[in-house]
Amino acid sequence: MLVYIARRLGAGIILALLVTFITFMLLSTSFEDVALTILGPAATPEVTAGLMAEKGWDRPAIVQYFDWLAHAVQGDFGESVYTSLPVAPTVMQRLLVTLSVIVPALLLTVVLSTFLGVWSASRGGVVDKISQGISLVGYIVPGLLLAIGLVVIFAVQLKWLPATGFTPISEDPGAWARSITIPVIVLTIGGVANMAAQVRGRMIDELRQDYVRTLRTRGISTTSIVIRHALRNAGSPALTVMSLEFISMFGGALIIENVFALPGYGSFAFNASLQGDIPVIMGIAAFGVLLVTVVNLTTDLANGWLNPKARVH
């Protein structure tokens, strides 16, 4: 198992190297624009060239990449050229904002999807139709529209929740909870729409298996069959969907962060790209790849725990 984990982490590191290398090469044509960002549009070509030489941006791109890498492996991702703030702590700060919305949304998605999926698969009939109806509505209604609608109702009309902004949990847990409520609801509805259908499908398949029929003939209760046996087997693909959902929520964070003016990872990445803030973009790329690697590895390990056939020795 340890070898497997080490191998997967190794593959993740290689992936991170490849992604950061390609990202750096794509950005390497923009160093003069970065200098202009720092100096302002009125800077003369001489001053711009002087700054590029001072920062080492006039060196070959490959040399600069390995220079960046040498610092990055020591945890030094440089400073933002736009704000002069160190990249690593800033990325972590933004990441925490996004995670504080995504993690509760994911947990709620898992709980509600499992409940809905299992409920509709095991009961069928009207219950199944209601469950499918909920999934369908979640699919049809665009997240952006839903977000704006919830803001208009709960923030603008009722004034129960804030329309924008984020309060760190360390500052005021109550205000934090209020600031993430609508974003979490929006992400959860989208997530449930997708995941509940997957859980339902897998559960229906499992409940038709021979071992289920055997368990029933042995007098095992339906609840035990559904929860202890069928759900455990259906859980494996659901976990994969969950990991994909997590990564997809990260991708979709930009929209949510824009609508709710949250200072998260998505808007940070978007602004850094607009500004050509190369050290920040590199930091975001590196952290993003590592995050995806860790999520995938965790999913695989959880799959192995749920399903012995999926275990890797």
Binding site: D33, T37, R94, I148, A163, T164, P263
Partner: protein, 519 residues
């Protein structure tokens, strides 16, 4: 509430220009605190101002300050040497009580107020101003280029700063009311906190406990600020919101009491609760001819082609269709609230594509294709401009340029044209930016005998009112030569509540002074 439509706004514009011209005539090259800013006789009830800004400050370091809406935060913390009247854009005393140039404009003497302090309690003196300016001159950053003409800065006594220049810089005084004029605390300038939580002598201090960098900045008024009685706000909250819908929602939910709103949604705001103020001109949208000499794009070197481009643009239709009617159609770049603006120049290029086509054919460039960068700013106007060029027998080829490379594309020399939106700065800066030989908007450094003569006169005339005829002649000349094809002056609609009113007009520097309190 003030809502101006085109014809009415032009009248107001003319009035504004007259007022400004008159005020400028009253101001010589020396200024004084006689015209103190926003003096009020009666005590005012202080409010909490919560305003939306589209971008967070990049840095609060005086050497790195960027103007625009980032200024809401840094100008609250860092006092500036001079100020501008929000309505007339007249330069007013700030931390510097008086200022005076020598005869040839190569030496500027600033006299500071007595009794000013930083938030630490340390005095603001000439040494602090000298330390800040010299540091900004040596530090690569947004402020550095504005100190290019400065040779030295010295303190002749505790309250007197003398700045010497290699040559007169007509824009320097205006710049002292923006980032260049910010005063840093020499005792802490070298510390890391300067970028995020600097010690300043401005009217507010940053409440770091309530501030979420990049998202929300909460600032608390300093009662020991020298002009505290004219600061009508207990707190200033700046919320960074890029999405206009989110900004509008925050306004309606009471999280903000001042924000720009899209004209389409203004009707959703209850007029009993909200003051709606339209500023018809905060920026100019125009097609800049970068290759005015026709070095790479010979067609653009021919004045007939440039004039034809101006004739091809249906400005009034574009204003309605692309800018929701908020703004003013224009054929010149000078601010309509300034003294240089000439109403009679509008009408030089009436919309007449047929006449434009004839000019292009006469010049022998029919069918010519011109490349232009396609940036995030051009998305909505591209079809209209392509159609306009097509109507006069020219073709536009839009070349996609990533946002971070947009500035570089304009300077690269690869393109003959560039669509840009330029916020108004000042009468002295706006034309220089686009038409001076070293202007950012003139990357090929184009000039000719007439331009040389006019700039020479402007750059050697210290008093603005003396240089005004040259500026006006320059404005007329660049319109005649069609070095740019202006489209519209873009307006902005402000919604303010809680007894707060937006008072910005000719000056839109983003400070709390754009807002006043009316009970």
């Amino acid at each position: 509430m003030s809502r101006s439509l085109t014809r009415r706004s032009r009248r107001l514009t003319a009035l504004g220009a007259t007022v400004l011209a008159a005020s400028l005539l009253l101001t010589s090259c020396a200024g004084s605190s006689e015209a103190a800013p926003s003096e009020s006789a009666a005590p005012i009830e202080e409010k909490d101002l919560a305003v939306a800004a589209v971008s967070a400050p990049n840095s609060l370091d005086p050497a790195q300050l960027v103007d625009g809406q980032q200024m809401f935060v840094w100008s609250a913390i860092l006092d500036t040497l001079l100020r501008k009247d929000p309505t007339t854009a007249e330069i007013l005393p700030g931390a510097a009580e008086t200022w005076e140039y020598n005869e040839d404009g190569t030496e500027l003497t600033l006299k500071l107020r007595e009794g000013m302090t930083f938030s630490t309690g340390d005095p603001v003196d000439a040494a602090a101003v000298v330390a800040t300016l010299l540091r900004s001159k040596e530090t690569p950053g947004n402020v550095q280029s504005r100190l290019a003409a400065v040779d030295d800065v010295v303190a002749s006594d505790d309250s007197t700063v003398v700045i010497s220049f290699s040559s007169f810089d007509p824009q320097f005084l205006d710049n002292l009311s923006s980032g260049l004029g910010a005063i840093g605390d020499p005792a802490t300038l070298a510390e890391e906190r300067t970028a995020t939580d600097p010690v300043g002598s401005g009217p507010f201090t940053l409440d770091t406990a309530k501030t979420v960098p990049g998202s929300t900045y909460v600032l608390t008024k300093r009662d020991d600020y020298w002009d505290a009685e004219n600061v009508p706000f207990k707190t200033l909250t700046v919320k960074v919101i890029q999405d206009p819908t989110a900004s509008f929602n925050a306004l309606q939910s009471g999280e903000l009491n001042a924000a720009t709103v899209q004209s389409q949604v203004v009707g959703q705001l209850n007029p009993d609760e909200w003051n709606i103020t339209v500023n018809d001109a905060v920026a100019a949208a125009f097609l800049n001819v970068l290759d005015r000499g026709g070095e790479k794009w010979p067609a653009l070197g021919d004045v007939r082609v440039r004039q034809a481009i101006n004739m091809s643009i249906d400005r009034e239709s574009m204003l309605e269709a692309l800018f929701s009617g908020v703004g003013i159609a224009t054929e010149q770049l000078a601010s309509p609230f300034g003294a240089i603006y000439d109403e009679s120049l509008n009408g030089t290029y009436e919309y007449d594509p047929e006449a434009g086509k004839e000019l292009v054919e006469e010049a022998g460039f029919a069918g010519e294709t011109l490349q232009i960068p396609s940036t995030f700013l051009t998305t909505t106007i591209e079809p209209a401009l392509s159609q306009a060029f097509s109507d006069i027998g020219l073709n536009l080829e839009w070349v996609t340029v990533p946002p971070q490379q947009a500035q570089g594309a304009a300077r690269s020399g690869d393109y003959g044209l560039y669509y840009q939106i330029l916020g108004f700065n000042s009468d002295t800066a706006d034309l220089a930016t686009t038409f001076a030989v070293d202007g950012v908007g003139n990357p090929r450094g184009y000039t000719d005998e007439t331009l040389d003569g006019l700039w020479s006169e402007i750059n050697s005339t210290v008093a603005f009112e003396d240089a005004l005829p040259a500026y006006q002649e320059l404005n007329e000349y660049v319109v005649d030569q069609a070095f740019v094809a202006p489209v519209v002056f873009i307006g902005a609609t402000w919604a303010t509540g809680d007894g707060i009113t937006y008072v910005g007009k000719a000056n839109t520097l983003s400070t709390y002074r754009l807002f006043s309190v009316t009970d």
